[in-house]
């Protein structure tokens, strides 16, 4: 039995990894890492630019923190010196007020002071090198783009093709003429698809984390890793692998049960998409619910989400990790069980495909 599963996997792995038709899956998996890399390069470039500005307009970070609302402009300039950039507008608005923005940098952060009639009205501190902020951004991108779209559609591409693709290629009889139980064939194909999906998407996750942390000082990264960093990374990689397993089981079954798996894929995508609004009982019949429960950082809805939409969000306490893994495994077991029953009755009928 093991040798038969291995034989199926060997054939399927070749197809899953090196299929020309599957190039878009690599793009989906590696695209976010590429975007993070561009962001990191931009941050490094920006940092160098700020260092150059600091050299020409020296100011200490401690003094910048002293600036408060209501301080007169002259006092600010006395404390900080001339800004590296300033914009002034006189007699604007209905009341003919004077507006000004002064920009300073301490080499790391950017400070913009807004003056109205010669007094500080607002202070905006732009801090681009912040691990806490970046890890929150990563959590949002990971849960709302990577899991729900990239891994989801990647699994559609890999797993629906395991049976359906061979029906269309008229080559499935190669397996069905071999003396093995259909459940063994299903297991071999699922494991092959899973190995490919996990390898492609966990590498994608790891590269995203590496690209995101690349521009931070080594000391900052080391401190993060010694804190929650290693646990977070392991969690994200584990969640990626579980997403592949969960969505993989669904789309393997879809490839067996439906002639056109795009329809069930769309339905599953909508179901997963509205999960946040579903009541507690229905939330549990999904993959994303358990995956979110396992993510180390909770991705909250964005601040600019409309109030009415926020009211519809059903907040349910996530289950503990062991229960989330058990729940997901149960969903997978049910779906794969249905797929195995279908595989047992599978026939070659290329003419109608």
């Amino acid at each position: 039995m093991i040798s038969q599963i291995t034989a199926v996997m060997r054939l399927e792995l070749k197809k899953s990894f090196f299929s020309r038709r599957g190039l878009w899956i690599y793009l989906l998996a590696l695209g976010p890492a590429f975007l993070y890399l561009i962001h990191a390069i931009d941050v490094v470039h920006d940092h160098e630019h700020r260092q150059a500005l600091l050299a020409s307009h020296p100011v200490s970070g401690g003094v910048l923190q002293l600036i408060r609302q209501g301080m007169p402009l002259e006092h600010v300039v006395e404390l900080l010196g001339e800004p590296y950039q300033k914009n002034e507008f006189h007699g604007r608005g209905r009341r003919g007020q004077d507006f000004a923005t002064y920009r300073y940098t301490d080499g790391e952060n950017d400070f913009t002071f807004f003056f109205v009639d010669g007094q500080v009205a607002n202070v905006n501190e732009q801090d681009r090198c912040n691990l806490t902020k970046d890890s929150a951004i990563f959590a949002t991108v990971f849960q709302f783009f990577y899991l729900r779209l990239a891994v989801f559609f990647g699994c559609v591409g890999i797993f629906t093709n395991l049976f359906r693709g061979e029906m269309l290629d008229k080559s499935l009889h190669f397996y069905l003429l071999a003396p093995m139980r259909r459940e063994i064939l299903l297991a071999g194909k699922y494991l092959a698809g899973l190995s490919a999906a996990v390898a492609i998407f966990t590498v994608g996750t790891a590269l995203q984390i590496a690209a995101l942390s690349w521009h931070f000082e080594p000391g900052q990264v080391a401190a993060y890793l010694h804190g929650t960093g290693w646990h977070d990374i392991a969690s994200y990689l584990g969640v990626t692998a579980l997403a592949c397993a969960g969505y993989g089981s669904i789309f393997l079954a879809a490839g067996l049960l439906f002639r056109n798996p795009i329809l069930p894929a769309t339905i599953v995508m909508l179901w997963e998409g509205i999960n946040i609004f579903l009541p507690a009982v229905l939330k549990k019949i999904s993959v994303i619910f358990y995956l979110q429960a396992l993510c180390p950082v909770v991705a909250a809805p964005e601040a600019d989400t409309p109030v009415l939409l926020k009211l519809l969000i059903s907040s349910v306490e996530f289950p503990p990790a062991w229960l989330a893994i058990t729940g997901l495994t149960a969903v997978m077991a049910v779906v794969l069980g249905v797929a195995a029953m279908r595989a047992r009755r599978l026939e070659i009928n290329y003419g109608t495909e």
Partner: protein
């Protein structure tokens, strides 16, 4: 039910509203059995049924006593060369056979030995390590046959196995079928070429519109064939030369180049002499890439068979 036969007991198979085969009752003994019938008569459905690729809507099938819903036993007993010309992507001929054997659970050494032996029997050794995608139709046909015989099954099911083979390989392949039959195996062949059927069969099952209309020994078909011209398509790199050489034969009544200019359709009154002449031309160095009968008009012979001693 006996355990040395392929048995169909009142088997029907429908594809939705479409009839595949209906109320087929057969008991096929060892030896070479030909399933004969025009396109759409149910030959392939019958073969898919006995190899477990499709299941009967009604009735019961046993292959040497094994039901088709037991693939672990059935596929060890049956070797099936299908009409489907597709292989897993990117494999060479050798890999197709060897990987197929790996699915049986054999170790690598055994797979290698069996694959090489099967490929050699089909004389594909030289091109075994080329990609199947680059094979001609005849080469793909031979690799399919190699896959069917590689695990040495007692039942060989071969769907149009001689299609696309050149004359030399064709006669070698027929010899291979005879060897298998002489060793007590079942060789079940589908064909709509009566000349082939006459040459190789111990018994014939005649199908029409999904029904078995006759079964039994084939006798005297040759005479019937000789009365009617047979059309054969020959692919060659020099079709004009081939056409002119063939036209010198008195049994050839027509030679016509195809529209693509890569083949010639020969109409002959004597299939035996035609194939002998083709062999001579092949030995003389005229490149023959494939031979394919294009004459589906066998109704007259079916009528002959139905009316003859094989009818029921």
């Amino acid at each position: 039910m006996t355990n040395d036969r392929v048995v169909f007991d009142n088997v029907s198979r429908f594809y939705g509203e479409v009839l595949g085969v209906n109320r087929v009752t057969l008991s096929i003994p060892p030896g070479i059995t030909s399933l004969v019938g025009p396109n759409g008569s149910g030959k392939t459905t019958l073969m898919n049924l006995m190899s477990g690729l499709v299941r009967p809507t009604r009735g019961e099938i046993r292959v040497l006593g094994i039901p088709p819903d037991d693939p672990e036993r059935l596929c060890r007993a049956v070797g099936y060369s299908t009409q489907f010309d597709s292989f897993p992507r990117g494999l060479t001929g050798y890999q197709s056979v060897a990987y197929f054997l790996r699915l049986f659970g054999f170790d690598q050494v055994k797979c290698d030995r069996l694959a090489r032996a099967a490929i050699e029997r089909l004389r594909m050794g030289e091109s075994a390590h080329r990609k199947v995608a680059a094979y001609s139709k005849g080469m793909r046909q031979r690799i399919k046959l190699a896959m069917a015989i590689a695990h040495d099954p007692p039942v060989l099911v071969l769907d149009e196995p001689l299609n696309g083979l050149d004359p030399l390989v064709r006669s070698e392949t027929i010899a291979l079928f005879r060897q298998c039959a002489a060793a007590g195996r079942h060789v079940i062949v589908s064909s709509h070429v009566l000349h082939e059927v006459d040459q190789i069969s111990d018994q014939v099952i005649l199908l029409s519109n999904g029904y078995v209309v006759a079964e039994g020994q084939i006798q005297g078909v040759r005479g019937e064939i000789q009365d009617r011209p047979m059309q054969v398509l020959i692919r060659s790199s020099r079709p004009s030369m081939l056409a002119s050489k063939m036209f010198e034969q008195d049994h050839v009544v027509e030679a016509q180049l195809t529209d693509d200019g890569g083949a010639v359709i020969i109409k002959t009154r004597d299939a035996d002499r035609f194939y002998r002449a083709l062999n001579v031309l092949a030995l003389d160095g005229i490149d023959i890439e494939g031979v394919m009968p294009v004459d589906d008009n066998v109704n007259s012979v079916y009528e002959y068979l139905i009316g003859g001693e094989g009818s029921r």
